[in-house]
Amino acid sequence: MGERKVTVAAEVGLHARPAATFVQRAKLAPMDITVAKTHGGGPVNGKSILAIMALDVRQGESVVISAEGEGADEVLDELAKIASTP
């Protein structure tokens, strides 16, 4: 199981544009993507904007993004980059 732990850097947290960009990318991946907060919350479906919003990840909080299967590393790298973009 591939995992990436990242600290969310955007001022709005994983909401609004960062959340939308994240979900748009996650939806392109063939495998399941999950997102969990390192300090409680989740895992939730990384392709669900409502689930991501309800997870309520703020700036400075860390999340673990998980995916499994062929190409998972590449997908995870891209998602981690989106989540850690200020």
Partner: protein
């Protein structure tokens, strides 16, 4: 008829009202379908896909901030969690419109329950839901006039981005909504369009269609059928005021050079930019509980240090006052739970609650100290013993500038005793008013008591300022009172040394102070204390502050 809400985008706008009615009726409870479940599911999926496509197309057409919002909405319409819910409700026998209604309502309730930013996104979901149901039922979509004869004031319960995205500055002169807050889409869109807006305005949707309306996006006032002369006067005053206020810049102070640092009240890192842009000289009140309101667990030291350091970096050399967690009453914190209280405002809130959770306090005070250079103060302090205890805890952590808020009459009356053990005091006029007049801040019926010009409130402020001057220690005011340009002059005249307010109020207060000498401020303060009513106190003070009228304040 006049209405009042919260002004969120300044300026005067007037024109006939256009009341946006979104009247997609709720599909009847338990409505079923005939035919196969698969067919019904396909019907629902097609409607969701079509609405998502329309939202995306509108986004592409609108561009900018609206594009992002609409594309996020398109994702919501096709959210996998929502789709699964709709399908399972149809499997259980519900007709597509009812299934869509229930699935969206479930998610909307989750968002509403979270409050804050998420709560304000709830309007988005309601709007998407109505569009999908209208499509399934073959009803007309809620919408706006295509080519209005003249610019109008848009009135609605709440506005969704799909409503506002394609609006033109040429067609809309103001927004009024019954619901929403300062961070709702209406507010964000209005500010980015430069259109005056009033939100949270009770009774707005009962404004008759087509009547002339004048909207003051600064004061929050909404007037129906105003006289032409009133409109001309308001527009003229607003134009003059904008020009006059914009010409005052630099640090706060009186006309004769007596410095009065003007600080901002903020609730998180996202508000720092607005404070810097408005020319704040520091942060007079950092409401740390807003960083953590919907958290299940207390925030980590690391995260707090990060937040406090960001404030210090935004104001190099400026003052930053971090208020410790003010949980309880109207701001419940999940990680600082308390037993049910019959009167939460009089219960274990503020410092009282904080003291019950020494581990949370340890982390916060340690984080303020680690951030380096910030001041710290405690809310809801009633006695000198409490102040002394808090000061000891802070100094043990290495904090050197420790204060308490004056929000309880007992603290104001014995301010000298509190000042003997702390380095500064800051008067929270909103709570001081609530506790002085035994009038709940959240209750509309007693709101008249909360006039910051109430003579008894002025007496308590003056007593605190005098005690601070005698002790040779700073006394700030961080409440609604500081944001009123006339009252700001009066506070300075009483001996208040710093004023802290919402960033949007800074320009008017800066201009008002700069137009008067210390002597005029002192005369206004003395005059304000003599009358026995708030209205008379205001009038008496203004008579000594001639510069305010010249500025249109």
């Amino acid at each position: 008829m006049n209405l009042r809400g919260v002004g969120v985008s300044p300026g005067i706008g007037h024109g006939p009202s256009y009341v946006l009615t979104v009247s997609v009726p709720e599909p009847p409870e338990g409505a079923t379908y005939t035919g196969e479940a698969e067919r019904e599911k396909e019907r629902a999926m097609a409607a969701l896909t079509q609405v998502a496509g329309e939202l995306e197309a509108r986004g592409n057409q609108a561009g900018g901030e609206a594009e992002e919002i609409l594309k996020a909405q398109a994702l919501m319409a096709e959210d996998p969690g929502l789709v699964v819910k709709v399908r399972s409700l149809i499997d259980r026998g519900l007709a597509a419109p009812r299934a869509v209604f229930e699935a969206f309502t479930k998610y909307r309730d989750v968002l509403t329950g979270s409050g804050g930013y998420l709560g304000e996104r709830a309007a988005d979901l309601g709007d998407i839901r109505d569009r999908v149901i209208a499509l399934l039922n073959g009803q007309a979509m809620p919408g706006l006039p295509v080519a209005p004869e003249e610019p109008y004031v848009l009135v609605a319960r709440d506005l969704a981005p799909a409503d506002t995205a394609l609006l033109s500055r040429d067609d809309v002169v103001a927004f009024v909504t019954e619901e929403g807050g300062p961070t709702s889409h209406t507010a964000i869109m209005a500010r980015s369009m430069g259109v005056p807006a009033v939100v949270a305005c009770p009774g707005a949707t009962r404004i008759p269609a087509g009547v002339p309306v004048m909207v003051d996006g600064t004061s929050g006032e909404v007037r129906l059928e105003p006289a032409a002369s009133d409109v001309a006067h308001a527009v003229g005053a607003a134009t003059a005021r904008q020009a006059a206020l914009a010409s005052w810049t630099g640090p706060g102070g009186t006309a004769d050079g007596h410095p009065v640092p003007l600080l901002a009240n903020v609730g998180g890192p996202a508000e720092l930019d607005a404070a810097v842009a408005a020319g704040a000289e520091g942060i007079g009140l950092y409401r740390t509980e807003f960083l953590f309101l919907d958290r299940p667990e207390p925030p980590s030291a690391e995260e707090q240090v990060h937040a406090y350091r960001a404030a210090l970096e935004a104001f190099p050399g400026g003052r930053v006052v971090v208020r410790t967690l003010d949980g309880g009453a109207d701001k419940p914190l999940a990680f600082l739970p308390a037993a049910t209280e019959p009167n939460p405002a009089l219960g274990e809130r503020g410092l009282r609650r904080f003291a019950r959770y020494p581990e949370v306090m340890d982390v916060q005070l340690g984080a303020v100290a680690a951030a380096g250079g910030a001041s710290v103060m405690a809310p809801m302090v009633a006695t000198a013993e409490e102040a002394a205890w808090f000061a000891r805890e802070c100094r043990d952590k290495g904090l050197t500038d420790v204060g308490v808020m004056i929000e309880i009459p007992s603290a104001a009356l014995r301010a000298a005793d509190l000042l003997a053990v702390v380095d500064f005091v800051s008067i929270g006029t909103n709570d001081l008013s609530q506790y002085s007049f035994a009038a709940d801040r959240q209750l509309g019926a007693v709101s008249a008591m909360h006039d910051p010009w109430q003579p008894a409130l002025l007496d308590l402020i003056a007593a605190t300022a005098v005690a601070a001057a005698r002790a040779g220690k700073p006394c700030g005011v961080c409440g609604e009172a500081a944001a009123d340009p006339a009252l700001a002059c009066v506070l300075v005249g009483m001996g208040v040394s710093t004023l802290s307010m919402a960033p949007s109020a800074l320009a008017a207060v800066r201009a008002g102070l700069a137009a008067h000498t210390m002597e005029q401020c002192e005369a206004a303060a003395e005059a304000a204390r003599a009358p026995s009513s708030a209205a008379d106190a205001r009038a008496a003070a203004r008579a000594h502050l001639p510069g305010l009228d010249r500025l249109g304040l």
